[in-house]
Structure formats: C-alpha cells, structure tokens
Symmetry: C2
Subunit: 300 residues, 2 copies
C-alpha cells in the first residue's frame, strides 16, 4: 500500500499548532521521509511513525522550514543505536551543513549515512518495488519535487485455471511475467487464460515549494495523488508570485491540468489561523481536493 | 523579579513529552534564553514566552540537544519582522554554523544579530540591572555554565523621615546611594535615618552539562538558586562519569557544598520514563531540591 502521512503542514514559522513541512511516504512498510522541518522527530513520536523504518530522506530545498530538523533526526538515530544505513538526498551544500555540526560535537554515528547531492532532474531510487524521481520547481532557491511510482506488480495467477491445465510449478514465475505456456505436445495455453493483470503501480508526487508553474505538469501527469503547496489564498496571489509560492486556486489549476485523481494542499502561511477557505478555493477549480492535516494518513 | 522558566528538561533524544534543554531567565521583563534545543520556538509558543523580549541567547556547548533550535529561532525572529538587536553567546564555531545556514537560504535578517564567542571564564553582560558571567564546566566538549546576578538595587527612601527633615528633591538620588545629608546649618542627618537597604541582588546559576566537578563551587557559592544537570540516577554513576554527566545525588552534593539556597535538577536521560526517583535521590543530600518541570516558572 502506498500512503502519505503529514507531519507538518505549515510554512515558515510554526503557528496554531501547525508545524513546518515534513511527511512520510509509506510503501509496504518502508518509510521515505520528505522534508524535515524543525520538530519533525517529535512529530514522529506524536504520530507513532516507526523511525527505524526510515531508509531514505529527501530534502526539497534549503529553506529552514524544510530541513532544520534533519540534523537532530540524524543525531537521534545514532543515540538510539540505529544500525541500518540511511540515504539522504538534497541540494548542495546540505551534506556540508550536516557534517560540520556532527564534527563539532565529535559525533561518530552508529550507522552508515550516505549523502546524495541533487543537482537536476534525476532518478534517485529504482528497485523492484519503487521508483523515485525528482524534478526542479520554481522557487527562490534551488528546489525539487519528488515523484513516487510503485512498480507494477507481477500478474496474478488464476489458480483454478493453472491447475486445470497442469502448469508445472517451475513455470509459475514465467506466467507472472506474462509468458504463454507451451505443452510438450506443442499446444499453446495463452497467458491471459491463466493470469490477470495486477493493478497499475500507484503514483504520488510531492510538488515542494513553487510558484505557479505549468512546466511541472509533465512530471505528475495522471498521478493518483499529488501534494501541492498553497501558501496563500487567492486574494494574495501577487504576494505568492513575488515570494515564489502558490495560492490554493493555483494548486487546483495544476491538479486539474495534470489530470491527477486527487490533490492534497498544505504549506499554509501563518497569516491564516483557519484553513476552510483554502479547501473551498482549491475545490472551485479541482473538486477532489483535501487539506493536508497533521497526523492524517492519506492512502493512494 | 528574577525567575527561570523551563522549556526543556530532557537530555539528548526527546522522549515522554520531555524536550531538549532550554530555559528562559527573566529579570523585570527582560528575557535571557539559555540553551536552545530543537523545538524551543514551539515550546515558547506553548508556554506563552514573549519572543520579542528575548535580547540575549547563551549557548552552553555545541551538542545538538543544546542548540539545534537556535537557527530556526533566529530565522523565525526575522520572519516575524523583529527589529531589536539580538546577542548570541556561545563557543566557536557556533557563528559559522548559523551563518552558513542563513547564507545558503539567502536570508537577510530583519534585525541586527551579534555573535560573541565564549572561550573561557568571562563577564558577558554587565549593566545597571544585571551581571552575567560564564564559567567552564567539565564536559566531553567545551562547555560553559552561566551565572546571573541581579544588581543591588538603590536604598529605599523612608518618605516620612525624608519629609520631616525637609530633604530637597534634588538630593533624593544621593540618599539612594547612601549619602548623609548636611543642612545649611551644618547639621548631619544620617542616611540610615532616611533610607533602608534594598534586598540583596538575587542570584541564579545554570550549571550546564558537566561531570561531578567541585571546581564549579567557587562560581556558585551561596547562590539563591542553581540548576544542575542530573542525567542519571546514582545506580548509573559510572556511566555518568564516563559520559561527562552527573547523577541526582551528585547534583545534590554540589548544591550542599556550595551552600546554595535551592537546587533545580534536570537534563534527565530518556532511559527514565518517570522522575520521582531523581527528586528523592537529590533530596537525600540536599533537601531543598525541585525537579525542573517544563512550563513551570521558578522564582528566585
């Protein structure tokens, strides 16, 4: 199951019990952390995120509300005697910033920490379960969105048909890959009689901080779920533009133009103490919108 | 009034809703922040600390649980359009760490930020209301405790006696300084008939992270209140020694030997989910001990 749990949905300054950006993308028990604002490790405790299951961290950009919690998390992992390796992806000079702070405290981590500098559109992770790519957004500093694409699962055997046709056990894996079976007598038993297609690999995109930017659409086209920032309401559209942020309506417009199934909005400015209007504005343009609320898990 | 409000009383890793070290020392409306673990700015919101009143920040040492929240606080002050200057005191290379992170984000602060590197015993602040000094402690890295000494107030006029003796208004300040008044006829009216002594300047010491260390006693001798770390209970005294920390009993012993009036203990290890035993152990040695509890203000 692919899902995303929101740990922080506020922009810049913490306010109204909303925290800076962080979320956990989960696929079948693996946790991928996206951004890590100050207090993320405390939010993880509050929302019972299994910290030991976090294998990768992706930092979109080096504004503090997206990464000031990272050094504390890396440090705490070590104090908790973590053993398994951790991969951190982010723009330069993230590695230098973290390494300097660890060095000053004479910290020797209990686990291998690997930094990967992002410097353009790229595939960051590609294994048999998931593919994770990044794409640049339009922000005041170098900034990246992240696309999660679950790998397509193997075809499912129709066991009744498989047994009826006496398919040998050693051929099951070939069936799952879509191959036909040919009997010793030369008869072809078509794969489509023996298997059904698995559901398509689900997709989620974190669109990071960005001004309204149609060039991101190609990266998130037809996605199942996207998270798009909506720092301001439409009445502050000019301010959004100036500060390289988006409004709720603009987030809706991107979702609509990209033909995605569902939109989550977040990164709300501390100017706003309530969030209903964000939802209303985005829904005007794209009805299947939800507010990204802290502690809530959204299944893809 | 001199007082201290605890924002974080835990060591290293946040746990059991306890946060890393931070406290606010208040004197007549001025706020002095001592240490700034991750999440301090959120704790300030929780406990209604007036952030704009913080004029000075003192960082004891560069272990993350004592300063990872500083860069976020400095950044947020700017986002909140702070105007007044901020003075930050701490060991090298604190300035470099913070400056680097501000530079990467292309941050231009809305207010003047002044760093002061501590590199030994020194007087850090000295004005007509307070004197703040630092002293080295014995920790794994360079580390300092901080002593706050309220300046002795001027003597108080006994207005009835002042009027009876026809002391002119312009001489009131001289009376407050302790001078006798001499009439035009040469009669000496003794200061002690006209004024009473103000209460002595109150004193508070934050003794930072340290192993048991009697050399700190000279700095905190006869203080009204001290905060001494007690990371472990006495059953882990050896571990405390190894890791340059103290036990609750050792904190009590320092308080007792220094002849202070009251002891606060904190910096509890995440090994312990309850704190009663810390209090009991310290009280065996020094009865006037209290646990430093988050959100609580202790008046000196």
């Amino acid at each position: 199951m692919l899902a995303v749990t929101i740990l922080g949905n506020n922009s810049a300054v913490p306010a109204f019990d909303r925290h800076p950006t962080s979320q956990v993308v989960t696929l079948d028990g693996d946790n991928f952390l996206v951004d890590c604002g100050e207090g993320t490790q405390i939010q993880m405790i509050n929302y019972k995120i299994r910290r030991s299951k976090i294998s990768h961290v992706f930092i979109s950009h080096l504004h503090g509300d997206h990464y000031f919690g990272l050094v504390g998390l890396i440090n705490s992992f070590s104090l908790l005697s973590r053993q398994q390796e951790l991969h951190v992806f982010g723009p330069s000079p993230l590695e230098e910033i973290i390494s300097m702070q660890l060095k000053v405290a004479d910290t020797r981590l209990s686990y291998p920490l690997h930094f990967h500098t992002i410097n353009g559109q790229a595939t960051l992770v590609d294994n048999d379960r998931i593919e994770i790519k990044c794409f640049p957004t339009q922000h005041r500093v170098e900034c990246y969105g992240f696309c999660f694409r679950e790998k397509k699962k193997p075809r499912k055997l129709i066991m009744e048909a498989v047994r009826e046709n006496n398919i040998p056990l050693h051929f099951y894996d070939n069936l799952k890959k879509g191959e036909d079976f040919v009997t010793s007598g030369g008869e072809v038993i078509k794969n489509e009689w023996l298997t059904i297609e698995a559901p398509h690999g689900r997709t989620y995109a974190f669109c990071a901080d960005t001004r309204y930017n149609e060039s991101m659409i190609e990266h998130i086209k037809d996605f199942d779920l996207i998270y798009h920032e909506s720092t301001y309401l439409d009445s502050l559209r000019e301010r959004a533009e100036e500060r390289f942020h988006s409004t709720a309506k603009q987030a809706g417009a991107i979702a609509q133009k990209a033909g995605v199934k569902k939109l989550l909005i977040g990164h709300f400015s501390s100017k706003y103490d309530t969030l209903e209007e964000f939802e209303a504005e985005a829904k005007e343009v794209f009805p299947n919108t939800e507010l990204a609320l802290e502690g809530v898990t959204y299944k893809v």
